[in-house]
Homo-oligomer: 195 residues x 2
DNA sequence: ATGCAAACTTGCAATGAGTGCAAGTTGGCG
DNA sequence: CGCCAACTTGCACTCATTGCAAGTTTGCAT
């Protein structure tokens, strides 16, 4: 069992996150001040920054499960798999994983990303870091054929295709065939690598 | 000839940019305040925001020539060119264009992007907008085979490969074979589309 | 249980970006 | 010449974020 201090810290952290999500949903991201959040979580405003380095960080708590899934796909590659095969499998895994559950956290994040450019920018930054990590693992998995730069180019191409499609789709609010269009578009963009 | 008002405005705008670049070079981006810049350009601090919406904007003045080059490549496509062929040619054009001239502006921008995450994030945001624009033109050029989403996926893949490689390369400060490694990496990542 | 050091909380004062407003200037044009 | 729109600027204000110093609380060894 974690120590009292740790349990307490975790509880406070959760309280902050819960308060923040509730306020963001009710008043919007920009209209909610850090002071509001701290008050709602019943801590001093100054204390907030002991838990989150910035207001933006509230929208990206914890690590990215998608990175973990990709790394797993790399680790569990088959002997006949080429680097591109591994990335294809990784995409499928991630897609299958992040399906069905609609967590409030993520819903708010998407909403805020649409309206606050700085937050969208922050998300892109995290995506870049994710690419770096995945590329590092991929290069390590194929030391004889891929150097860091080539692995990064490859991962960049795959993730770029997926996010490009997702971004384009996000700008068509209507469109009920979203998922199908997304799968079709990424499939066509990445087909040259499939076999 | 533009009106006096316009000439004046342009002169002031340049003065602000020049002052900013000089100060960024001397003291660094973060150590330079907007008030400093305004003072150096001999205008009121408040006036600064009538010329640039934010301090970050100083690093990204004017439109992206790379977008223009890509659009040109799309416009001047040959009858036998597939979408991917056009994008390949666009990359070559851009690469050839942005070669040789080392403008101070761009040098400062790269330097600042390395040290200030928020600025790097802003750059990624602009890149996304560039992708959107290019994808829009590409989809318009191939109305029968590409919809918005597929075009975006394709453009995302190409730009993703390039920036992935560039990012990886930027993290190896040493390495004198930079350009060669970059060309090799993007070539390998995009080869499946070449013919 | 006792007591000390490390970790945590908080208020206070600053800094710096960005904004709304209202008063004063200046350029464009009939 | 005279009016209107555009431009400039100072002022006051909101907010995120940080450094600091003064309390509090916990972990842990004695």
């Amino acid at each position: 069992m974690p120590t009292l201090r740790e349990r307490k810290r975790e509880r406070t952290r959760q309280a902050i996150l819960d308060a923040a999500v509730a306020l963001f949903e009710r008043d919007g991201y920009e209209a909610t001040t850090v002071a509001d959040i701290a008050a709602a979580a019943d801590i001093g405003t100054r204390t907030f920054f002991g838990y989150f380095a910035s207001k933006e960080d509230l929208l990206f708590p914890g690590g990215d499960e998608r990175v973990a899934a990709a790394v797993t796909a790399i680790t569990e590659r088959g002997p006949a798999d080429r680097p591109a095969d591994v990335l294809i499998r990784a995409l499928r895994t991630v897609d299958a994983a992040g399906h069905g559950f609609v967590d409030r956290q993520a819903a708010v994040r998407r909403q805020v990303m649409r309206s606050v450019p700085a937050v969208h920018a922050a998300a892109l930054m995290r995506q870049l870091e994710a690419q770096r990590e995945i590329a590092g693992h991929l290069a390590a998995a194929y030391p004889d054929e891929l150097d860091d730069v080539t692995a990064s180019a490859l991962v960049g191409a795959f993730i770029g295709a997926v996010t490009g499609a997702a971004d384009a789709l996000a700008r068509h609010p209507d469109r009920e065939d979203g998922r199908a269009a997304f799968l079709d578009a990424t499939d066509r963009a990445l087909r040259p690598w499939m076999r």
